[in-house]
Subunit: 208 residues, 2 copies
C-alpha cells in the first residue's frame, strides 16, 4: 500500500553533516520529492532568487502570516525571521509529493507538534573527529571561535536526537548511500499501515 | 546510523498474495537477508529437504522444545506442529542479517509479544477481484469449497492488518516493486533512532 499523500520529511543536521549535499543528490534522483522553500525577512544575497532560495518578504508580512496561522514553523535568528509557509507544503503533500523541510531542531519540534504524521530525520557525520575535520577544512579564514561555536551547536543538535525518528549517517564520500537511506525511509513510511486508510474496507468493497 | 543487529521481519499474507514469490525475489537480490527455516512434525513430501524446506522433527522433540522455551512461535495445524526455532533467528540477527519469518497472523502475534523490536509486514493483493482471479487461476482442479475457504481465510487475515506495521501491495507483474518496498522497510528500520543505541554518547566519546 502506498499512501496517496506524500510524506512530510523534516531533515535536520549540524553544520558539517553535509545535509544540503545529500538532499541535493536525492532531489536529482527522485522527482517525487520536492524541497520546501522557506520564507525570510532577511535581504537577498547576491545571486539569490525569490521563490528559489527563499521567499523574501517584509517583516510586517511575515508577522501577519504568523498571526494568521500561515507558518508551519518559524524562528527568529540574528534579527531576521525564517519560516515554512504552510499552504505550499500541504498542497504538494496532497499531490502525492514527499516534501523535504530542511530545518533545525527547534523548527522540527514545532512541526512535530503541528503535524504528528511528519517524519523527523537527522543527518549526522559518523563521528566527532570527522565533523571537526569538515568544519576546519572549509577554508583557512574561518576564525577558531566560529568553529568552536559550530561544534557546540552540533553538540546541542545531536543531544536532541531522541525527538527524531531516524538517523542517517553521512560518511565521507558516501553521499549516494545517505541519499538512498532517506529514500528508503520515505518509501517505507508510505507503506505504513497507519497511513493506509482503511485498506481492508476498500479491499472488500468491490466484492459482489 | 545502521543498527548492528539485523531486523526481524515477520511477513504474512493471504494465499494468493504472492508472498513466497516476492520473498524469493528479495533473497536473490540481497544477501543481507536470510529466510528462517521452520520446524515441523509433519512428514517430508517428495523433494523436501531437512534444513532447507523445514527442520523435520518428531512430535516429542517439538513438544520438548516448546517446554524449554526454544520456539519463538508455533501453531498446530491439521494435527501437525509448525514453528520457528528461536536460537537460529537470534544468531542470524546478531550477525547483522535481516531475518524473514514467513508466518501467518497468529504466529505474527506471538512474535510481536516476545520480540517488540520485530517488524510486522503484510503482503496483499491490490483488491479482492485480483485475489479471487489468482486463486481460481491456479488450476482447474481446485474444488470450489477450497477456493471459498481460502477467500474466507484472506478476509480474516486482512482484518488483522492493524497489528501489522507495514502493508505492501503485490500487484500483478509487480514482484520487483514489492520486493523493493520490503527492502526499503528493512533499510529504513535499521536507521531508526530507537535502534541506534546511544549514538550521541558514542559520537562524542572520541573527543579529547
Amino acid at each position: 500500500m502506498t499512501s496517496r499523500e506524500g510524506i512530510l520529511l523534516v531533515v535536520s543536521g549540524p553544520s558539517g553533516s553535509g545535509k544540503g549535499t545529500v538532499i541535493g543528490r536525492l532531489l536529482e534522483r527522485r522527482n517525487d520529492f520536492v524541497y520546501s522553500v522557506s520564507a525570510t525577512t532577511r535581504a537577498p544575497r547576491a545571486g539569490e532568487r525569490d521563490g528559489v532560495n527563499y521567499y523574501f518578504i517584509s517583516r510586517d508580512e511575515f508577522e501577519e502570516r504568523i498571526s494568521a496561522g500561515m507558518m508551519l514553523e518559524y524562528a527568529e535568528y540574528c534579527g531576521n525571521y525564517y519560516g515554512t509557509p504552510k499552504k505550499e507544503v500541504y498542497d504538494r503533500l496532497a499531490e502525492g509529493k514527499n516534501v523535504i523541510l530542511e530545518i533545525e531542531v527547534n523548527g522540527a519540534m514545532q512541526v512535530r507538534e503541528k503535524c504528528p504524521d511528519a517524519v523527523l530525520l537527522m543527518i549526522a557525520p559518523p563521528d566527532f573527529a570527522t565533523l571537526e575535520a569538515r568544519l576546519r577544512g572549509r577554508g583557512d579564514n574561518v576564525p577558531e571561535e566560529v568553529i568552536l561555536r559550530r561544534l557546540e551547536a552540533a553538540r546541542y543538535e545531536l543531544s536532541q536526537l531522541t525527538i527524531y525518528d531516524y538517523i542517517v549517517i553521512n560518511g565521507n564520500n558516501q553521499i549516494d548511500d545517505a541519499a538512498d537511506r532517506i529514500i528508503a525511509v520515505a518509501d517505507a513510511e508510505r507503506s505504513r499501515v497507519a497511513r493506509s486508510g482503511d485498506f481492508c474496507e476498500r479491499f472488500f468493497s468491490c466484492e459482489a
